[in-house]
């Protein structure tokens, strides 16, 4: 049971970082991407390759993941500069579909459908992190380090510029803001942090394949941001805990036959999401309705 909970806690920290990174795009920049799992995937594959071929060092693996995802984020920045709103959602959906196919087909790099297996246990500067407690500490350090960086940037002029852009692009431009550069930097920042989370994910799972980087995953991460509260610092974390832990908790529901548990779980889950969006449209950490 402890092993299960530790595993869940590690995943919660990694997905918390992933959701927080998407919040830079969606919550602060108004860039509504449904392709965030792609950059999580870029980071995971890059990290896995480094771990397999160089060393499973946490710093090296997360740096490689962040770098690769940050550079490849241009694939998302380019459509973000040209189209807005629902048009960008569709463009990012296209990117997600292309990437899923590429992850499946690029066997020499991604291992294809079988994925990359046998990733060695993580290390930190030569010290073994094979103990789940040690790796949890690393995941939490990455999460809170990432949140601290995002807090610093989002509460500063960069965050203000990004929010200004989100609220009125034309007014932001009329006050001299470089919209193209701002969007490119926001996308690069969000995707690079997603890549760091991807590197940690590869080490955590000791195995990566395309199933972790599909549209389903992108939608789940987006839901974490929105349910928790887009554009708030704590929101993505709250959303991650809820969406990751609720299904786990629901599997312990008493009095339901094991064959039905999946369906009941889905129904409760769906109902909770719908009610939440009706009564707390700004998310759990967002402003309550009627407090205007």
């Amino acid at each position: 049971m402890t092993a299960y909970l530790l595993n869940l806690a590690q995943l919660a920290a990694i997905f918390g970082l992933l959701a927080a990174s998407l919040n830079v795009l969606v919550g602060y920049g108004g860039i509504f991407s449904v392709a965030h799992a792609v950059f999580f995937g870029f980071g995971a594959y890059a990290g896995a390759q480094i771990a397999l071929n160089v060393a499973p060092d946490v710093l090296l693996v997360s740096a490689a993941g962040g770098l690769v995802a940050g550079v490849l984020s241009l694939a998302l920045a380019l459509p973000a500069l040209r189209v807005r709103g629902e048009y960008f959602v569709v463009a990012s959906l296209g990117l997600q579909m292309v990437a899923t196919t590429a992850f499946t087909e690029a066997e020499p790099v991604t291992g294809g459908l079988g994925g990359l297996v046998g990733i060695p246990p993580p290390q930190l500067l030569g010290l073994s992190l094979a103990s789940p407690w040690a790796f949890l500490a690393v995941c939490l350090a990455a999460l809170f380090g990432g949140l601290a960086v995002m807090r610093l940037l989002m509460r500063g002029s960069f965050g203000r510029s990004l929010m200004a852009l989100r609220d009125s692009e034309s007014a932001a431009e009329a006050f001299g803001k470089n919209v193209a550069l701002l969007k490119t930097l926001a996308v690069a920042l969000g995707c690079a942090i997603a890549g760091v989370a991807g590197g940690l994910f590869a080490l955590q799972m000791a195995f990566v394949n395309v199933e972790s980087f599909t549209l389903d995953q992108s939608v789940l991460v987006l839901a974490m941001v929105i349910v928790g509260g887009a554009g708030t610092l704590a929101g993505p974390l709250v959303g991650t805990l809820l969406l990751l832990l609720l299904p786990a908790a629901l599997s312990f529901l008493p009095g339901i036959p094991p064959t039905e548990i999946g369906a009941v779980q889905q129904a409760i889950y769906g109902l909770a999401m719908t009610l939440l969006m009706i009564f707390r449209p700004a998310g759990l950490a967002g402003r309550a309705q009627g407090k205007r």
């Binding site: 002029s157 929010m163 009125s168 431009e173 009329a174 006050f175 001299g176 550069l181």
Partner: protein, 249 residues
């Protein structure tokens, strides 16, 4: 006066813009002298806002030039124009609704897109605080722009411009819907700005405000400049009044 002093900070020559078959602005010449308040007046569809959009680079003209300090500007973007000291407001305000009033003003004076801003952050905060104080918004600085009352939102739109230190202000219906007390404060603010040498051009439908505030009126109709001059002369012209009040026959 030296020739430089007489050159208007902002002028347009032969500016034209068509939208499909509609001629929104047709060959407009306009001088906006420093320290004067010029009101653009005319019925809906006269091309007033389109003129602002052409001057600020939000739209590209089909013909004609914008001149800053007498120099032809060429193709430009709203960002470049802003950096040359031209600030504008919008009829629909376009406040940064989910940011506080204080953040709205700060964001207006932080043009760098990098992760940091060059320059003096304390000076920017002081400029933002001063602009909020001048517009009577100090107490509302922490409130979300979306939560402000109507008049406060109008003043916040002006505070953003005030803080930029821009020398040319283009204001699109800045006083519409203000109560008399707010209107008096608004008039005093603009008068003070013009007194400091700022070039002010505003689009306004309320002729009482125009009379009270404007040094000159430029009358537009169907994309053409029909007349310009002192407010009394323009507003007394029966032909213009007929156009303005929709009584063309």
């Amino acid at each position: 006066m030296t020739p430089q002093a007489m050159t208007p900070p902002l002028a347009v020559r032969g500016l034209a813009k068509h939208f499909g078959g509609l001629a929104a602005v047709q060959g407009v010449d306009l001088d906006l002298p420093a320290g004067l308040i010029t009101a653009l007046v005319g019925p809906n569809g006269a091309g007033k806002t389109t003129l602002f959009n052409l001057i600020t680079g939000a739209l590209a003209p089909d013909a004609g030039d914008v001149l800053l300090d007498g120099a032809r500007l060429g193709p430009t973007t709203p960002r470049q124009i802003a950096r040359r000291g031209v600030a504008r407001s919008f009829q629909d305000l376009r406040l940064f609704d989910h940011m506080s009033a204080g953040e709205n003003v700060l964001a207006a004076i932080e043009p760098a897109a990098w992760f940091w801003q060059p320059g003096d952050a304390a000076a920017r905060r002081a400029a933002a605080a001063a602009a909020l104080a001048d517009t009577g918004l100090t107490a509302a600085a922490g409130a979300l722009a979306a939560d402000l009352a109507y008049a406060e939102r109008k003043f916040l739109s002006l505070a953003r411009i005030l803080a930029t230190g821009a020398r040319i202000w283009l204001l699109d219906e800045p006083a519409s819907g203000l109560d008399p007390a707010s209107r008096a404060r608004f008039v005093a603010l603009l008068r003070a700005a013009a007194g400091r040498g700022i070039t002010v051009c505003l689009i306004e439908h309320n002729l009482d405000i125009v009379t009270e505030l404007a040094d000159r009126i430029v009358f537009l109709d169907q994309g053409r400049k029909l007349a310009e001059g002192a407010p009394e002369a323009i507003l007394r012209d029966p032909a213009l009044a007929a156009i303005y009040f929709g009584d063309r026959a």
